[in-house]
């Protein structure tokens, strides 16, 4: 499910927007060359839909962000944003002056916690850090 997020004012000037200042998710803004800027989505899977309510106490579902769309930096390929970001990161390392850093690379990994019953009806709280992408270079 996609939750409505706070919208940031689109940039005024006509140059290509700075890689890390791209508009928010619902601004269907196109880059100066007309291509659709990559957009952030939220994937939410309800544990009820996975039939897990008999063992998971909290949370009620799993939520993560991902980028979709063509990254605004022209490598002229049509792979999805994450793969594009990985490839562009490599190219940027080789030619830092000519190819900018990819905007969709994750910049923040967040922890995730789950509270559940194990097979002996003990209650377990498990926490893993750096497991869920919650922010990337363009959002």
């Amino acid at each position: 499910a996609v939750r409505p997020l706070k919208r940031r004012p689109p940039k005024k000037n006509n140059e290509l927007p700075h890689p890390n200042k791209l508009p928010g998710i619902f601004d269907d803004v196109h880059g100066s060359d007309g291509r659709r800027v990559c957009r952030r989505h939220e994937l939410y899977v309800s544990f009820q839909d996975l039939d897990w309510l008999d063992w998971v106490i909290a949370p009620q579902g799993y939520s993560a962000y991902y980028c979709e769309g063509e990254c605004s930096f022209p490598l002229d390929s049509c792979m999805n944003a994450t793969n594009h970001a990985i490839l562009q990161s490599l190219v940027h390392l080789m030619k830092p002056d000519t190819v900018p850093k990819a905007c969709c690379a994750p910049t923040k990994l967040s922890a995730t916690s789950v509270l559940y019953y194990d097979s002996s009806n003990n209650v377990i709280l498990r926490k893993h850090r750096n497991m869920v992408v919650k922010a990337c270079g363009c959002h």
């Binding site: 996609v2 939410y44 839909d49 909290a58 949370p59 967040s110 916690s113 002996s120 003990n122 709280l125």
Partner: protein, 245 residues
């Protein structure tokens, strides 16, 4: 998604029903992110002995207290759980009371099944939590509650006990008694103890033994939200490397 209780996404959000294969894949994916080897199958408790609620209530409070730390950016370990990243609460499976001869000390023993502790985990702290009611019979005298781990039991003589904690309280006090049993964890991790016994003795100031039940310490026959349980905090181990997708 299907109907039924639980939060519904705001109107206008695209939803899709998961097919059987998609559901299996999504389950595998989410289990991997949650760091779980597989989907636990809790045993359905017999109707008469419904599960105690004390441990889940405590753990749910702990979950909410530390949920805010989930958005930290991989910095130092969060405050709520300290150095722990795995917390296990164990339901008390067997309870024994002993008061043979009048002159012998009376005690109450709780046993815990530790088989679900993952190998290689290091204990940061462990607590035994027992609820105490006011005990009018004792007036408001001072009571000393000692906690021991039962290391070995013998048919013809007293068990081998290992002292863990001493708490002093008033007979009229009420609330959760929290005993530090961390010292017992060295033993159960070293020799792989799977059945841990924790024994409580209660004495007055002048050394007279008091039946723990009469002192107000509740056991398995207490209301579900006041039954004893044990909580163990395991030291943070390096997060598993998240396989790229």
């Amino acid at each position: 998604g299907s109907g039924g209780a639980g939060p519904r996404p705001p109107p206008g959000c695209p939803q899709r029903r998961l097919g059987a294969r998609e559901r299996r894949e999504m389950q595998r994916e989410v289990l991997a992110v949650l760091g779980l080897p597989g989907r636990p199958r809790p045993r359905a408790p017999p109707a008469a002995a419904r599960l105690p609620a004390s441990a889940p209530l405590f753990m749910l409070d702990l979950y909410h207290a530390t949920a805010g730390d989930d958005d930290e950016d991989g910095g130092p370990p969060p405050r709520g759980l300290g150095r722990a990243d795995l917390v296990m609460s164990f339901v008390n499976v067997v309870e024994r009371d002993r008061a043979l001869a009048p002159q012998e000390p009376r005690w109450k023993e709780f046993r815990f099944d530790l088989t679900q502790i993952p190998a290689g985990e290091v204990v940061a702290a462990a607590e035994l939590r027992v609820y105490k009611l006011p005990s009018p019979r004792q007036g408001n005298r001072t009571l000393h509650v000692s906690t021991f781990a039962v290391f070995a039991q013998h048919a013809n003589r007293e068990s081998d006990l290992f002292f863990l904690d001493l708490q002093t309280l008033r007979a009229g006090d009420e609330g959760w008694l929290v005993m530090d049993v961390t010292a017992a964890s060295d033993r159960w991790l070293l020799d792989g103890t799977k059945d841990l016994g924790l024994r409580l003795y209660v004495e007055t100031e002048d050394g007279h033994s008091v039946d723990p039940g009469l002192a107000g310490l509740l056991g398995r026959r207490a209301p579900r939200s006041k039954q004893p349980f044990m909580v163990t905090f395991f030291r943070a181990s390096p997060s598993p490397v998240r396989a790229p997708r």
